[in-house]
């Protein structure tokens, strides 16, 4: 069973990596948004260091919310969604696999490139580490929550900005805790990581079921 699910994740990832632009565009978007802030707010290193966690988190959030909208898009167009719905595996499990593959192909590159961007925004080494760890803990939550919205809007053509409006409020706790963790002093930080971990476990517990329920509704317009 684990073997099958790993294969499903592998095939999902192959499909994404096959078309380079699907995972490169969100990454490029992320980098460009981060680079806009020094241009808009001025190159003052003190200001940038203070704002860096917020900037990187907001940019990551926007990039993920854009890419997650396509989570079920191709499957729905190719009719593969029907096979997933008819599968003998629980739907929530398959949805979870799809979300993992989304995270691996769309979020992990963001996490990997983030130290470089932190460097551009004058973050210290210690804060760089905090940045990477919080992104590692936080981005799965963003993917999982986003998958609910993606499932709800999959059949709606020209849904445009509906998905961000729907899902953004759910991202607020992660955004708050994530950027606060980076700003916090080193001593008090372990509690913050615990909070991020709790968010991740909570979203893993609830999101796949809600996404499954949303897919079963089968909204088609």
């Amino acid at each position: 069973m684990i073997h099958d699910l790993l294969y499903i994740i592998y095939y999902e990832m192959r499909e994404t990596l096959d078309q380079a632009f699907t995972w490169l565009t969100p990454l490029l978007f992320f980098i460009i948004v981060v680079c806009l802030f020094p241009l808009a707010c001025g190159p003052d290193p003190v200001l940038l260091t203070k704002m860096a966690p917020g900037i990187i988190w907001v940019a990551a959030l926007l990039s993920i919310i854009i890419s997650i909208g396509n989570l079920f898009r191709t499957d729905s167009e190719e009719g593969f969604l029907d096979l997933i719905l008819l599968s003998h595996y629980p739907l929530s499990l398959l949805v979870f696999c799809k979300t993992i593959s989304h995270w691996l192909t769309h979020c992990l590159p963001l996490v990997l490139i983030s130290p470089l961007l932190g460097f551009l925004l004058h973050l210290s080494f210690q804060k760089e580490c905090a940045l990477v760890v919080t992104l590692l803990l936080g981005t799965p939550v963003l993917s999982l929550m986003g998958s609910i919205g993606a499932a709800l809007t999959v059949g709606i053509r020209r849904h445009g900005l509906l998905l961000p409006i729907l899902i953004m409020p759910f991202y607020i706790p992660v955004l708050i805790v994530g950027s606060a963790t980076i700003l916090a002093e080193a001593e008090s930080v372990s509690g913050y990581y615990a909070m991020m971990g709790a968010f991740m476990l909570l979203s893993m517990a609830f999101a796949p079921f809600l996404t499954g329920a949303a897919l079963r509704i089968g909204v088609t317009q």
């Binding site: 809007t153 409006i165 729907l166 899902i167 706790p173 509704i217």
Partner: protein, 244 residues
């Protein structure tokens, strides 16, 4: 049990005919509660020793904020009924509540912001309570946006209930993280909207206003639901009997 109940009380027809008798009573309740609350709150209750007469905004701010949250709670409960037991009335209740809830949330924001001007000196402060009400407004607007995009009724109800349920699970988390964020960034600010101990002469009008707001919500909700029921059940025999 649930099935029996849904047949007896929650069928659209039973709901429609029963609520007809309640409506006058609810209207009376709204008028009584609101008029007592307004008169007592605006003129009889003594001025606050700290805030002077400025605290009188409490009589519209707190009831509207309370009602806004209560409406989201009602929506989330109906969402469970829709998803698990497919109760039609719950779906109608949920979709009719959203706009009312959004309007009360908006009102809570406006009055909170007006109250903030004499208290803090600015129209807007990123205070924990105001911020979480703002996020509640976003949740309502997202819900309404999703509803307005989907045409087919059954899909609309179930999609909306998924998002309402997800919102209800998230709302406490959002609230506490906003409170935490607030203490983190501006620990010195004491929330002046807190009223730790309150004199009965100030409290009773407030409670009366809260009840009045809730009854008003109930009234609007029932009226909207009755319209919805008639439109959704347009083809059935009982609608014809009731209306002709």
């Amino acid at each position: 049990m649930i099935f029996w109940m849904s047949q007896k009380f929650l069928s659209p027809k039973a709901f429609y005919t029963t609520t007809t008798h309640f409506l006058p009573w609810i209207i009376t309740g709204v008028v009584l509660c609101l008029s007592y609350g307004l008169i007592a709150g605006l003129f009889i209750a003594p001025a606050d020793y700290q805030q002077g007469d400025g605290f009188r905004i409490i009589y519209v701010h707190v009831p509207s904020a309370f009602t806004a949250m209560a409406i989201y709670f009602v929506m989330a409960s109906s969402a469970i009924l829709v998803l698990v037991w497919r109760i039609k009335i719950a779906a109608i209740c949920m979709s009719s509540s959203a706009a009312i809830g959004a309007s009360f949330t908006f009102l809570a924001l406006i009055t909170g912001s007006i109250w903030g001007k004499p208290m803090w000196g600015t129209w807007w402060v990123w205070d924990a309570r105001l911020t979480s009400v703002l996020i509640l407004l976003f949740l309502y607007l997202g819900f309404i946006a999703l509803q307005s995009v989907i045409k087919e009724t059954q899909h609309k109800d179930r999609a909306a209930s998924v998002i309402a349920l997800a919102g209800a699970i998230n709302l406490p988390i959002i609230h506490y993280s906003v409170v935490w964020w607030n203490t983190l960034h501006q620990g010195a600010t004491i929330s002046k909207l807190d009223t730790p101990s309150i004199d009965p002469s100030m409290l009773y009008p407030l409670l009366s206003m809260i009840v009045g707001f809730m009854l008003f919500y109930l009234l609007i909700l029932l009226l909207r639901m009755r319209n919805q029921i008639l439109l959704r059940e347009i083809k059935t025999e009982w609608v014809k009997e009731v209306l002709l």
